[in-house]
């Protein structure tokens, strides 16, 4: 498979057995997406063959792939927001009676699919009203609605809660138990280890290895993916830092929708993690501080000074940078050049008397490209053409450009490979050691465990617990496997917080 002069995929053999879950791993730009798109009929290979259960499959349309028995979910791009869940699931293969669509059957069948997945989503809801987790489940339901024998699940769990992931795994096992196959793609090593039987690792468009999952350690996987000995996060030593004065203080801050009054204070050099399920208010809080959403009541102080934000520009003027949740729509302008994206936040610094100086654009962009190790052909390459991890580095570079005092990160490593993830966490640490205060919301607890000094457990818009990394570490005096330990503790705390909440609201209803 060629894209222009680049070879995206070079002579790759992959064989998936009936009855197995086969994991596909690789960094950004390793060729995973290209391979999946060929399997799914979106792209056509320039050389080589694909066979499904022995039948050769060729063609460049998703319909042909479907007819061959292959179904794949897409990462947040195959749903139409203005249609309902059921309408989306059966889009283009509706139930027709007398020439008309039978909506009732579609709703019934959609219910069955969600039942098969062990989850609850109302098929009559509009997709635009769904939470990210529900959207992801709808994507999965849509892909399996074709009774396909081969499921390709591409990052199916990024927006799911721990419980929903567990349920998804159950239905995957049920599917393979019937002699079908699943190709599972994820950046989350713990999931790969848990669900897959065998795994194939791609790097730079070539196959590195295919192996039994049981016989492969996580650090071996990472080594194959990045192509060099990687630092193992699982034994991170937690060093003590000296923290400065409070730089961001919230007092009974509340939005009009999700959050109950939130008070907290973050000090210079501190990295604080927001942990909680989707819809717990993680993003809402970040957006409030970033000036994206208007507050309903309460106050924000930056470096002791009360501030009022009428929009993101006001927050940026106070030195608050925001790396938003949705890279594609909120973070980058995809069709614009990498250099234009990197300098969009600092137009005043690249302009002289109102005119943009290309020299400055080039110099400043090059600095960011070097600092963040952004892999890009040239500065003028549209950001759209970069891999997810490099796109995110562009968003980070853009935000660091304003030299912020406070950095807000919302899911900073969603859909990013382990190599880029490490680089991003390193960048956070180094900026924090220079005195920047960081607030990071993430659904990946392992990442929070590595990155943060302190954790806030959120459930249903309430901060239920505020616990420091040191306090959790003290419960594990051996100091071995510290990161997984912290991750487990956080998981438990989130579940406890949600349980308490449920009992409370049940009590209210009585």
């Amino acid at each position: 498979m060629h894209f222009g002069s680049l070879v995206a995929l070079d002579n790759v053999d992959l064989s998936v057995r009936a009855g197995e879950v086969h994991a596909l791993l690789g960094g950004n730009g390793a060729g995973k997406s290209t391979l999946l798109k060929i399997l799914n009929g979106v792209h056509q290979q320039t050389a080589g063959d694909v066979a499904v259960f022995g039948t050769p499959f060729q063609g460049n349309s998703p319909e042909l792939a479907r007819a061959a028995g292959v179904a794949m979910n897409f990462q947040e791009m195959s749903l139409i927001p203005s249609l309902t869940v059921a309408q989306n699931i059966f889009l283009n293969h509706e139930f027709i009676r007398n020439g008309l669509i039978n909506e009732a059957v579609a709703v019934e069948r959609a219910r069955d699919l969600f039942e098969q997945l062990n989850v609850e989503v109302d098929p009559r809801m509009l997709v635009s009203d769904l939470s990210p987790g529900q959207r992801q489940l709808t994507e999965i339901a849509k892909s399996i609605s074709h009774d396909a024998r081969v499921w390709i699940l591409d990052e199916p769990s990024t927006a799911l809660s721990v419980t929903d992931v567990e349920r998804l795994f159950e239905s995957i096992r049920a599917h393979t138990a019937q002699g079908n196959a699943v190709i599972y793609v994820s950046h989350r090593m713990d999931e790969i280890a848990k669900i897959s039987d065998r795994l194939t690792i791609l790097r730079d468009g070539r196959k590195v290895t295919t192996a039994e999952t049981r016989a492969t350690s996580v650090s071996q996987m990472i080594e194959h993916i990045v192509g060099k000995k990687a630092r193992d996060f699982s034994n991170l030593s937690l060093e003590r830092k000296t923290l400065g004065a409070p730089v961001l203080e919230l007092d009974a801050l509340q939005d009009t929708y999700k959050l109950r009054p939130v008070s907290l204070s973050i000090r210079e050099g501190e990295v604080v993690g927001l942990a909680g399920l989707l819809g717990s208010g993680r993003s809402s809080l970040i957006k409030l501080i970033a000036g994206v959403d208007a507050k309903a009541s309460g106050s924000i102080r930056v470096a002791g000074k009360p501030v009022e934000f009428r929009g993101p520009a006001d927050a940026m003027a106070e030195g608050i940078a925001h790396v938003p949740e949705s890279r594609a729509t909120q973070g980058i302008i995809g069709s614009h050049a990498t250099s234009d994206n990197l300098t969009l936040s600092i137009l005043d610094r690249i302009s002289v008397r109102g005119l943009i100086r290309q020299q400055r654009v080039r110099a400043l962009s090059q600095k960011q490209i070097d600092d963040f190790n952004i892999k890009v052909e040239s500065q003028s390459t549209p950001v759209l053409n970069l891999s997810g991890g490099n796109q995110q580095k562009v968003v980070l570079g853009k935000n660091f450009g304003i030299q912020p005092k406070i950095l807000l990160l919302d899911e900073p490593t969603a859909g990013i490979d382990i190599g880029a993830k490490t680089e991003i966490i390193d960048a956070i640490h180094s900026k924090a050691s220079e005195g920047m205060a960081v607030l990071v919301a993430s659904s990946e607890l392992s990442e929070l465990a590595v990155a943060c000094d302190r954790f806030l457990i959120l459930a249903d818009g309430v901060i239920c617990e505020d616990v420091s990394s040191d306090d959790i570490a003290a419960e594990n005096p051996s100091g071995v496997n510290m990161v997984p330990f912290i991750q487990r503790v956080l998981e438990e705390k989130i579940q406890d917080a949600n349980k308490t909440l449920k009992t409370e609201s049940f009590g209210e209803k009585q």
Binding site: P62, E63, R66, S78, I80, S82, L91, I96, L100, I101
Partner: protein, 310 residues
């Protein structure tokens, strides 16, 4: 709950607005004959062509495209139909009229989906071409239509008291509504406009969908042109001139999104009737044409602003 009610209120603003304006006119213009049955039927007569084109426009907008050539195509069709009838009779006239619309629609669709010119530009250019051709082949003069059956069936006639144009709206409305909301074609149209990438990944041929809606729009414009020709018993290149604005306004007033993915035929018809009613009321008020234009523009902007706000 309040949020939900508010949202629905926004969605249904067209119906509320329709009733309010109707009541306003009924109260203030009663002595000038607004409620006279003949006047009310006149509103239908004056609205039918806009409504039919707007129903097709609902499809075009829902698919994320636009068709600015409808008014000019209607005008061109009046001329081709009138010329054909004068030499080969009404049946040939209808066939040529339909072919005119289909041909323009195919051109629009081909240029938009195969050559890749945005429909805004394709149809803007086609507007000029259609008008130019109409002026050229008619020598800029009106072409009379002498066939009575054609004039009766296409716009002039009535069944009892009910004008035939009412039935044209009814047939197109029912057909358009069912097609959009209850068939696979309609679902593909809404999906294409609601998320083109997503639709493509779902196996929908979005180029074909866009091609089809532009052909539907051209055909509907031709039918509207025949209704103009039948009602006025002549073909003139000026007929339908400027209709594209009323047509798009009717669809948007009725809740169709200019950005694609959302549209209802019933809303569009009510939107068209509302524009017709406003025109009628302004005339009865005795406003001059210049004042009518200003008032109509203001009312449309207000109504669209209310219906589009989140």
């Amino acid at each position: 709950m309040i949020h939900f009610a508010l949202k629905n209120w926004r969605q249904n603003i067209i119906y509320i607005g329709f009733v309010l304006i109707f009541l306003l006119f009924a109260l203030t213009l009663n002595d000038r004959g607004f409620l006279n049955p003949n006047n009310l039927l006149n509103i239908f007569r004056q609205t039918a062509m806009i409504a039919i084109m707007a129903i097709a426009m609902t499809y075009v907008l829902s698919a994320g495209e636009i068709d600015l050539s409808v008014g000019a195509v209607a005008g061109l069709t009046t001329v081709t139909v009138a010329l054909t009838i004068s030499v080969a009779g009404p049946l040939a006239g209808v066939a040529v009229g339909l072919l005119t619309g289909i041909a323009v629609g195919v051109c629009n669709g081909w240029l938009t989906t195969r050559v890749g010119i945005p429909s805004f530009l394709t149809t803007l250019a086609m507007m000029g071409i259609a008008k130019g051709v109409a002026m050229w082949i008619s020598g800029t003069s009106a072409v009379p239509i002498l066939s009575r059956s054609f004039a009766w069936f296409f716009g002039g006639g009535s069944l009892g008291i009910v004008p035939i144009l009412f039935f044209w709206i009814l047939i197109f409305g029912v057909w358009g509504h069912i097609q959009l909301k209850h068939t696979g074609f309609g679902r593909r149209v809404l999906a294409t406009g609601g998320g083109e990438t997503a639709a493509r990944y779902t196996g929908i041929n979005v180029k074909n969908v866009k091609f089809q809606v532009l052909v539907v729009s051209g055909t509907a414009a031709a039918i509207a042109g025949m209704l103009y020709a039948g009602r006025l018993q002549s073909g003139r290149f000026q007929l339908g001139e400027g209709d594209e604005l009323s047509v798009i306004a009717a669809a948007v007033l009725g809740g169709t999104s200019l950005f694609g993915g959302k549209g209802t035929v019933i809303g569009t018809i009510v939107g068209a009737l509302m524009i017709g009613m406003i025109n009628n009321g302004l005339i009865l008020m005795g406003l001059e044409y210049s004042q009518q234009l200003i008032a109509r523009g203001g009312i449309i902007i207000l109504a669209v602003a209310l219906s589009q706000r989140q």
